[in-house]
Amino acid sequence: MITLWHYLAVAAALFGIGLVGFLTRRNMITMFLCAEMMLQGVAINFVAFARYHGNLHGQVFVMFILAVAACEAGIALALVLMLYKRGKSLDASDWQSLRELGVPPAIDTVPLDIEKPEAEPTLAPAGVRPTLTASEEAARV
């Protein structure tokens, strides 16, 4: 029999994993996903209690949470995208410029590798036969 306790345990686990992930990871997209995870943990709590009490209050709340999470996802990803465009990096610790004056920036002793972004794909100029890469060659066959 799956009791309330099981639901709550799953929710707590979800929340805990999300929290630990948020605090330990520096990749902004990962951090965002962790935050979503915490949110879903809370949502499970609501659903569980709604079922336990036999009313729909919690369910309604979850609908709101989902709506808000969707908005938040849009905004957060847009911000992440803009930051990436500026600094070519998704490391949250690269963005310390809002610290107080006179406080030295925190520098990790083991810095993350800044991944070189791939070159954007370009088209061959018109009238020239494109030179195919190996994978394309394979696909054509």
């Binding site: 948020f22 520096r26 310390q96 610290r99 920036p105 925190a106």
Partner: protein, 651 residues
């Protein structure tokens, strides 16, 4: 616009327009013609003012008060912009504009080529405007506004050569010392405002006080406070020290402001307020004593000064003392007589003192700015016009019979004599003051002719600064000298002794009639007092004779017996040093103490402000810009909070 009240605003507006025009001229590169507006405005104003005098004198009505325009009002205080035209103000107005015209013409020659030419004439015009306003104002606070206006112009003109530290210091001294008097003046006005049914209009106030006799002690206090202002402005003891230093300004300024007009503002104020002073005999005797002390002290200091302009400056202080002597008798004798004597002396003094200053300016112009009588001499041949006009002015000042100064000085002495013979208290004091006045008259004649002989007699000596300037001044400067010399010689004899025009004219002033009514003093018959005239002639001629015997060689060689006296006089009785030790030094110590206390307060404030700074220093590293750190502290804080709620509150 032939009505007197139509003329007055025009006379007032002309110099103001001139000031604006002169300022514009100097801005747009036409500084060379900046003197034109002032000369034209003063000349037209002088003509209008003389017309005004003629109109005021005829007919039955002798006073016009313009409709009050509210300047500002707050609670009980209602200040109106009202002008009044009566014999007193019209004669003063005519005198101011007339003298100003000739001094403006003289200035255009004297200041020629100066780099502040435009500024000079703009401020001079502003001064004439303020002075006319002061004369015409019929409201105490309006009077104060113009009073401060002339003070400001005086400050600007004394400090005209502001690159010179001594001129800047003199300007500051003039402003600060007169400010001491002005403080009393303002207090007096507020006291009068309270006593006089919350009125500030002069005519209304006098009417009110005549119908509701005020408390005697209060009235005496108010009069003395008003007198404070006059003491400051008219350079009376103990506040006279600014006037000799004010000679740092250009000489025509000294002639106009520090001899003929502005310094007489205090005399004019007391003449205007005669209805109040006539009711306060205790205040009057103090006025007379201050006048007497000043007259004697300044004449004594003038004895040995070597700076020609300073001799004249101390002489001005001394003659102003004479005017206050006469004013101080109002109430004991008929105020009409006393005020006439003071105003007549003011009137003639304006002519001959302006003349003397302008001739000193002419000498200074020729000597290349040197004004020390020890460094030049025997200028009789070199500057014949200046010499003759100076002689006219000096003779008038000394009181040589039949010249202006003789008649006016006699009126002052007569008023003192009448006061000492009256049935009122303080006759002894007035008798003593009369003796002081005679002594002063002797000294006046002596120091005036000492300056004359030292400058113009003896072998010709010219300082090397003079260079090619050492010749008679151009016509633009000598013509004003000649006009004023004629005034100095004849204005006295024309105006008073035979026709009694001046006293009859002033006698029509309603405020003076009111003062006579209030004091209850008998009118004095105008008769020529042979005793006084003979005595004063004797003293004057004696002074001239002594000066002739001592200085006809044109150099100063003193017998050893009187050398200490002259040393005392040369050092100005050490008054500046006494003030320095008694007032300036203690004030400096006080300022140092205040500064130390201020430093203590600052340290306290800095200590208080450093507490938040230290706390900030301590917690600032928390704000390190790391998102993870913020999230962690949020999570930990929330944990602690939840733990607290769970463990404490739900227990």
């Amino acid at each position: 616009m032939s009505e007197p009240l139509g003329l007055a605003p025009i006379i007032l507006a002309l110099p103001l327009i001139a000031a604006i025009l002169a300022a514009i001229c100097s801005r747009i590169g036409l500084a060379k013609i900046a003197h034109v507006p002032l000369i034209l405005a003063c000349a037209v104003a002088a003509v209008l003012a003389i017309l005004l005098v003629l109109k005021v004198g005829e007919g039955d009505q002798h006073q016009w008060v313009s409709d009050p325009i509210t300047w500002f009002a707050a609670g009980n205080l209602k200040v109106n912009f009202t002008l009044t035209v009566d014999p007193l103000s019209s004669i003063m107005l005519a005198m101011v504009t007339f003298i100003a015209t000739w001094i403006a013409i003289f200035s255009s020659g004297y200041m020629h080529g100066d780099k502040g030419y435009g500024r000079y004439f703009a401020v001079m015009s502003l001064f004439v405007f303020s002075m006319c306003g002061l004369v015409l104002a019929n409201n105490f606070l309006l009077l104060v506004a113009f009073w401060e206006g002339v003070g400001l112009c005086s400050y600007l003109l004394v400090g005209y050569y502001f690159e010179k530290p001594s001129a800047a210091a003199a300007a500051r001294k003039a402003f600060l010392v007169t400010r001491i008097g002005d403080t009393g003046f303002l207090l007096g006005i507020f006291l009068l405002w309270k006593m006089g049914g919350w009125n500030t209009d002069l005519t209304v106030l006098f009417q009110y006080l005549a119908q509701n006799p005020p408390d005697q002690a209060e009235l005496t206090t108010a009069c003395l406070l008003l007198f404070c202002g006059a003491v400051g402005k008219s350079a009376q003891f103990p506040l006279y020290v600014w006037l000799p230093d004010a000679m740092e300004g250009p000489t025509p300024v000294s002639a106009l402001i520090h001899a003929a007009t502005m310094v007489t503002a205090g005399v004019y104020l007391l003449a205007r307020c005669a209805p109040l002073f006539a009711m306060a005999p205790d205040a009057q005797v103090i006025v007379a004593w201050i006048g007497g002390i000043t007259a004697l002290l300044a004449a004594f200091i003038a004895l040995a000064q070597t700076d020609l302009k300073r001799v004249l400056a101390y002489s001005t202080v001394s003659q102003l003392g004479f005017m206050f002597l006469a004013l101080g008798t109002a109430g004991v004798i008929s105020p009409v007589f006393a005020v006439t004597a003071a105003m007549f002396h003011l009137f003639t003094h304006a002519f001959f003192k302006a003349l003397l200053f302008l001739t000193a300016g002419s000498v200074m112009h020729a000597m290349g700015g040197v004004i020390d009588v020890r460094r030049f001499g025997g200028l009789r041949k070199l500057m014949p016009v200046t010499h003759l006009t100076f002689l006219c002015g000096a003779a008038a000042l000394a009181g040589i019979p039949l010249l202006s100064g003789f008649w006016s000085k006699d009126l002052v002495l007569e008023s003192l004599a009448a006061a000492s013979e009256s049935d009122r208290p303080y006759t002894g004091a007035y008798f003593a003051l009369m003796l002081i006045a005679f002594l002063t008259a002797f000294m006046t004649a002596f120091y005036t002719f000492r300056a004359y002989f030292l400058t113009f007699w003896g072998p010709e000596r010219i300082p090397e600064e003079a260079g090619h300037h050492a010749h008679e001044s151009p016509a633009v400067m000598t013509i004003p000298l000649l006009v004023l010399a004629v005034g100095a010689l004849f204005v006295g004899i024309v105006a008073e002794p035979f026709t009694h025009w001046f006293s009859h004219f002033l006698g029509h002033t309603p405020s003076l009639e009111q003062a006579t009514l209030a004091s209850g003093a008998k009118a004095i018959e105008h008769h020529f007092n042979w005793t006084i005239a003979g005595l004063s002639t004797g003293f004057a001629l004696g002074g001239v004779l002594v000066a002739f015997l001592m200085y006809r060689k044109g150099t100063e060689t003193l017998p050893a017996a009187i050398e200490p006296v002259f040393a005392l006089s040369r050092n100005k009785l050490y008054v500046d040093e006494i003030y320095n030790a008694a007032i300036v030094k203690p004030a400096g110590v006080l300022a140092m103490l205040a500064k130390a206390f201020d430093g203590f307060l600052d340290a306290l404030a800095r200590l208080t402000s450093s507490i938040p700074r230290f706390i900030g220093e301590w917690v600032r590293p928390l704000q390190n810009g790391l998102v993870q750190f913020y999230a962690l502290s949020m999570a930990l804080g929330l944990t602690v909070f939840v733990a607290f709620v769970v463990l404490r509150v739900t227990r």
